[in-house]
């Protein structure tokens, strides 16, 4: 049993981390009332920038390169998401359509630049990816140590910490209250002197930063290069985690961990007696089927923020 856990838990954490980051971004954006189908594209942008920066500066920064890469990818994601913010907040575009365009644009730009810079459809493998490590003191704790702190990626724990920070920001600070108010009832928020557009801009840009972070962490832990097939659906899965987690940061984290678990099952299932007889296909589609069931109310109702997807036009009732 302990062996099984020690093989599953690190894998779950490994697969979940990018989803957690990105889903938290989705929570911020949607809580402010801006639907973000573009999470996928934001991850693509993050993965692209993270990999390119890592390839270009591995000599300069050495062992610190992956950390600096994900910070740069965060900034790039934030900047890229401004397009979505401008379209959906200022230009009152249909937010879903704008999100779809973000996805197409990110992949187009990423692969286009890859071809222009590297002369082929995919980059080389990075020299400095994140490596799994055994955390010194903590791994010595009996039982818990080997399960949680041996052969893990530090980024996984960063993701979990960020989830708690996001929860604190959204539920324990004035900023978070305003952000949620803007997503529930923008007119009331406006009457109380909150700048609706500004809050929504901030929220979308935060989602860009977190999406970029998620994409770059995915690229630098799991695949180590960039091509058109680096991010295939992780962004949509994060969006599913947002909804499955009922638009709550910790809920989204839980959902992301669960999806990571489902993904890792299709990889480690051969070692687990109960699961080895289940055809892989069921484990593959499990996250998606469960999300639909969750939405249909079989796993408790999931209600979106009330003003989600509706552009706010001052002076309209």
């Amino acid at each position: 049993m302990l062996d099984i856990l020690a093989s599953i838990v690190p894998t779950v954490l490994f697969f979940s981390a990018p989803l957690i980051f990105t889903a938290l971004g989705g929570v911020f954006s949607e809580r402010s009332g801006v639907i973000n189908i573009g999470l996928e594209g934001l991850m693509v942008m993050g993965a692209f920038v993270g990999i390119v920066f890592n390839l270009a500066f591995a000599d300069v920064f050495g062992g610190l390169t992956p950390w600096i890469s994900i910070i740069v990818a965060m900034v790039a994601g934030a900047l890229f998401s401004v397009i979505h913010a401008v379209a959906s907040v200022s230009f009152r575009a249909d937010q879903t359509v704008s999100g779809v365009a973000i996805n197409m644009l990110a992949l187009g730009v990423g692969v286009y630049l890859t071809k222009v810079w590297y002369g082929k459809g995919q980059t080389d493998m990075v020299a400095e990816p994140f490596n799994s490590q055994t955390i010194p003191v903590l791994s010595k704790i009996p039982i818990i140590g080997p399960i949680f702190f041996e052969g893990v990626y530090v980024t996984s724990y960063v993701a979990i910490i960020v989830a708690f920070i996001a929860w604190f920001v959204l539920y324990k600070t004035a900023f978070g209250l305003r952000l949620r108010a803007v997503g529930e009832h923008p007119m009331a928020a406006d009457t109380n002197g909150i700048n609706v557009s500004k809050m929504r801009y901030i929220a979308v840009i935060l989602s860009g930063a977190l999406g970029g972070l998620g994409g770059s962490v995915f690229a630098l832990t799991i695949v180590s290069n960039f091509s058109h097939a680096t991010i295939v659906g992780q962004g949509f899965m994060s969006l599913a985690a947002v909804i499955f987690g009922k638009w709550h940061p910790l809920g989204a984290m839980g959902a992301a961990l669960f999806f990571g678990f489902a993904q890792s099952l299709s990889i480690v299932s051969s070692g687990i007696p109960v699961l080895e007889n289940i055809p892989q296909i069921f484990l593959l589609i499990a996250p998606y089927v469960l999300t639909i069931l969750a939405l249909a109310g079989f796993i408790g109702r999931a209600d979106a923020p009330r003003a989600n997807g509706i552009p706010y036009i001052k002076g309209n009732r």
């Binding site: 639907i35 379209a87 996805n103 071809k115 296909i281 089927v289 109310g297």
Partner: protein, 354 residues
Amino acid sequence: MRQVIQVKSNNRLFGILVPIISVLLGLIVGAIIMLISGHNPIEGYIALWNGAFYDEFTIGETIRRITPLILTGLAIAFAFRSGLFNIGAEGQVIIGWLAAVWVGLIVDAPMIIHLPLAVLAGALAGGLWGFVPGLLKAKLGVHEVIVTIMMNYIALYVSNEIVRSVLTDHDTSTEKIAATASLGSEWLQALTFYSRMHYGILIALFAALIMWFIIDRTTIGYELKAVGFNRHASKYAGMNVSKNIILSMVISGAFAGLAGVMEGLGTYGNVSVISGFTNLGFDGIAVALLGANNPLGVVLAAILFGVLKEGAGEMPSAGVPTELVDIIIAIIIFFVASSYIIRWALTRFKKEGK
């Protein structure tokens, strides 16, 4: 009254101007990107033109490319008309493709039965894939966007699994369908230097006609539009809103399923394990949006995007990566979606002109 008429004609003018301006802006941005990345935009666009219209063969291939885009565009436009956003066209394409090829493989019948049966199977499978989100939307109020996204992934994995374990013995693609189920046409192929052009284009154009007929000439279409405009008013007027939502998603799914049929019975003649989406469904969103959800507009927009996508294949000869076209299409979508700002700029411009 005169004012009303003026506003109306203004709206119609904007309705035509917005897409045209968006396309031009998209092409200009594309040219700027080519310039910045050190390519010659004129050479790039000439290569694009040649890629789509160089000779009979490329024209045939361009028409083949346009065919499924018309259908996915119709699918999304149809759902839009009743206020639904069918992002699931992608999954419906995959399932329609699979079902049509499946029937094409296992049924043994003369062409007059086999071909319609296979086409119908694809449309029905797509319709079924649209039925689930429609039902959930109508009965439980679940947002169709998320359900259809999830259905896309389920379609992708299920189709791959069926190809691998049911239709073949752990192979990556099935055998070719029976000739009695093929949309291929020797006549069209001979006409176009053996391109992969097939009879599907007739089905696609006919589907556009059907959509126009349903939406503009039948009670069903009237109700679907009414539900799209105002769900509550339609309910008050005695329409069955749930039924209309489900029906709209099923018809939309059937159109998308037909797009899959075009690929399965026309272009490829088989179905393969795919690592990612076909993108036909997502491109359909762009087509519907640019075509203003109107059947004729959809056909025209599909022609434009089909030409761009097919022409892109030739762009590397000018040193430009094919992805430039994806960027251009994304930018066109942004501008059409943000038509509010284009309208604003146009009215502003007009006022200053006076």
